[in-house]
Symmetry: C2
Subunit: 462 residues, 2 copies
């Protein structure tokens, strides 16, 4: 920025600030009340406990997912929202009852490994065994010779990059590993694949998640083993290069025909622009291990509690505020895609959308996938949120569920809630993603931040 521009900008900011001084004082007291309600009369923690403990893990197509849908609608009803269910078609995959993974060496060494089938994988059809071959990365597998891979079980041991400060960047770098390893290995003639779990800690929790079979490829079983075991397997292979090392595995997971499910919607009608919608949500489904506490129970509860608080404070929004519990974010995103198509077909106007799907940790801020003007508006919020320890207000990702709205409304701003990311991948998609690992105050502060953000967005001039 040139000096002259800097001065002009300063002048502009100064005048802009003076003009809005009165409304900021009122914003400030409204936001203070939101936070006080969340922290002293909050329902967030108890609502999350119920979702995690009385329903539990809720993978698309399961009875638990259906119970979560009914719970979601009942909850929204009880908080005074106008609710409805939107039918969608979703994939249906089940883990089954058998999962076993062993390393066996020709010298008799036997190591039990802690693993989970990846979502979408086929089963092994009984016990499966083959020589194990390790690759340090997905790229190393890609450039490998088919002759050395053929007939073997491939182990892709690529760690998330611990140097990244924001853990989601490290996750992004390893994401293709989970989705594509099986197809790439199968094209080279492998009979199965295991990957290092996508997590930064060295721990005993395997992390599942979606994998996909490339069109036309032979489907082979795919699983993830925990990082601690991945390190052990690596060390064993390195220290016993003369032994023949086998992997023995059994999984009876399988896919079923698509089934019927629902997005859950709850509205507060707008008073000034009732036909312009602000969509706020997270995803109601979770993986089938743990309790989906941070992913995305916390996100669902953030948004539910935000609506409850705004209702309780008798806030009459300008725009129509619509809370959406999306189904099937984890393995197909059918909820997000169907919703975007439906609102377009109904010729709805959409003002903006907000998503919470990065866990229930202490809030850091919001990112915006939108125009320069939208991002400028977002950054202008920083002073308002300073006392609440929020500081990230910048261009960035919106979210998986609200993402498809961009196809229908290219100019819509999508906002993503950003909590602290350091602990997220200790739990994500693993048996460790349980209620006990969510902190009450951190969850409440997230709900307050989102309620405040909805309010400010609703007050924003078009």
């Amino acid at each position: 920025m040139k000096l002259v521009s800097l001065i002009s900008f300063t002048l502009f900011s100064f005048l802009f600030y003076s003009q809005h001084a009165t409304s900021e004082i009122s914003d400030s007291s409204f936001i203070r009340s939101i936070y006080t309600t969340a922290l002293t009369e909050g329902n967030a923690y108890e609502d999350l406990r119920f979702l995690c403990k009385e329903i539990g893990a809720r993978i698309t197509g399961s009875t638990e997912a259906q119970m979560a849908i009914e719970w979601g609608k009942d909850k929204m009803d009880s908080y005074g929202l106008e609710t409805k269910l939107h039918e969608i078609q979703v994939p249906h995959w089940e883990r089954g009852t058998k999962e076993a993974f062993y390393l066996k060496s020709s010298n008799g060494t036997h190591i039990k490994l802690r693993g989970l089938a990846l979502g979408g994988s086929i089963g092994t059809n009984g016990t499966m065994r083959a020589e194990l071959i390790e690759f340090e990365s997905l790229d190393a597998l890609k450039i490998s010779d088919s002759e050395v891979v053929k007939g073997k079980i491939v182990f892709v041991n690529q760690p998330m990059n611990a140097k990244q400060i924001q853990t989601f960047k490290a996750y992004g770098g390893c994401y293709p590993l989970r989705g594509n390893s099986a197809s790439i290995a199968a094209e080279k003639g492998a009979t199965g694949t295991i990957i290092r779990s996508l997590g930064l800690a060295s721990d005993p929790h395997p992390h599942t998640g979606s994998m996909y079979y490339k069109e036309g490829v032979t489907k082979i079983p795919a699983a993830a083993i925990c990082t601690a075991d991945a390190d052990q397997v690596h060390d064993y292979i390195n220290n016993n290069s003369k032994e023949k090392i086998e992997l023995i595995m059994e999984m009876d997971c399988r896919s079923f025909p698509d089934s019927k499910s629902y997005n859950v919607l709850g509205e507060i009608k707008g008073k000034a622009f009732a036909d312009e919608v602000i969509t706020v949500g997270g995803h109601l489904d979770s993986w089938d291990t743990g309790e989906g506490a941070h992913d995305d129970g916390a996100g669902i509860i953030h948004c539910l509690e935000a609506f409850r608080i705004l209702k309780k404070m008798n806030y009459k929004p300008n725009h129509t505020l619509r809370l959406v519990f999306f189904m099937n974010e984890e393995n197909g995103n059918k909820g997000g895609k169907t919703y975007a198509k439906w609102v377009k077909e109904n010729n709805e106007k959409h003002f903006a959308a907000i998503e919470s799907d990065r866990g229930g940790f202490a809030p850091r801020g919001f990112t915006c996938d939108g125009s320069e003007t939208d991002i400028k508006w977002l950054t202008s919020l920083a002073p308002i949120f300073k006392d609440y320890d929020l500081h990230i207000f910048e261009k960035g990702y919106g979210g998986v569920d609200i993402g498809p709205l961009k196809d229908s409304y290219p100019n819509i701003p999508l906002f993503g809630f950003v909590p602290d990311s350091q602990r997220y991948f200790d739990m994500h998609h693993s048996p460790n993603d349980i209620f006990e690992n969510v902190n009450k105050r951190e969850l409440e502060l997230g709900a307050a931040a989102i309620a405040s953000f909805i309010y400010l967005l609703d007050q924003k001039q078009p």
Copy 2:
């Protein structure tokens, strides 16, 4: 700020930035290396595990405290620091082996309460029982009539204020409750006192901490019960106003004569200003419950790891960097006071001091107890730390241990490291303050932030 000042400030900032562009690039790469070392070749987590699990809780005067001193010196030696022990005299209080707390009502109701004697309290000399009287706050106790208090056990049930966003502010509001309840109650003729634990969560962990007897007052036993039990007692009293409700308690804690202990010091000599010292530290002692993991194991480890990293990177500081593990922060601050006196008597020059004593959570920034110039320098660091998610750079508290340096050096800037505060009071001074509740990456990021801060401070022109 007036418009003219704003423009001048903008001009100044612009020129200042241009002038420092080169050094900022070099700072940036040095700091990146610090973070990479902390996150990929860190010793912090293993060092904290050892301190927590192989030594454990280490109250002043205990064998564990002595083992921690020896461990500290050995660690500093092994990391290449020039070490020494500084003898100090410290109080010596022991919890003993008996702690029991019951509510007993005239209708036969019996409720076991989870409590801990407050540090410094006398014991009960066998079983003690008296009618229980509740006050909602310390202020309510202060203005109460002696006639209604006399002969009873006083229960001060003042909760921390959940509305506060920064939990240390809520703690500050309740701090006098723990220190002074016994003396105030004793002056009104009470025979004992229990307080609501200083914690925000409703949970089963009692929180201990220091209490003091006012000169000349009759000493009465003082304990804290967990917040969950405090709520239960409150409800019981309210719902059974016609019953006589007694508290029955036993504690055999007691004080011993002062004993000998040590601060542990380790230095890296400065090359340009060897006679000017930057003191960096936390406290090595802890309460005698839990493992002192966050309070202040994490702080000790932050600073130790920062020195290890700077040494490993072969950094040659301008000033003499001195790492201090202070003893006896928890119940007397004899370490901090004796250190400040000693450096003054030695006519040392002191450039600055940094303390970490707010837990091992994700870093948020630094506060400064110093001049306007010092605070201005601190705020100028914000852009450097933006990529590392630090955002608090403002006037504020330094720390208990480095605080007495102000008496010796009125102009010294004291800097306090600020991690996220939301979970701290779930653990603080309780059996819940254990290693398992410290996250590896959060701890490592704290060490990296402090190492980077030491570097920037050392590079600062006087």
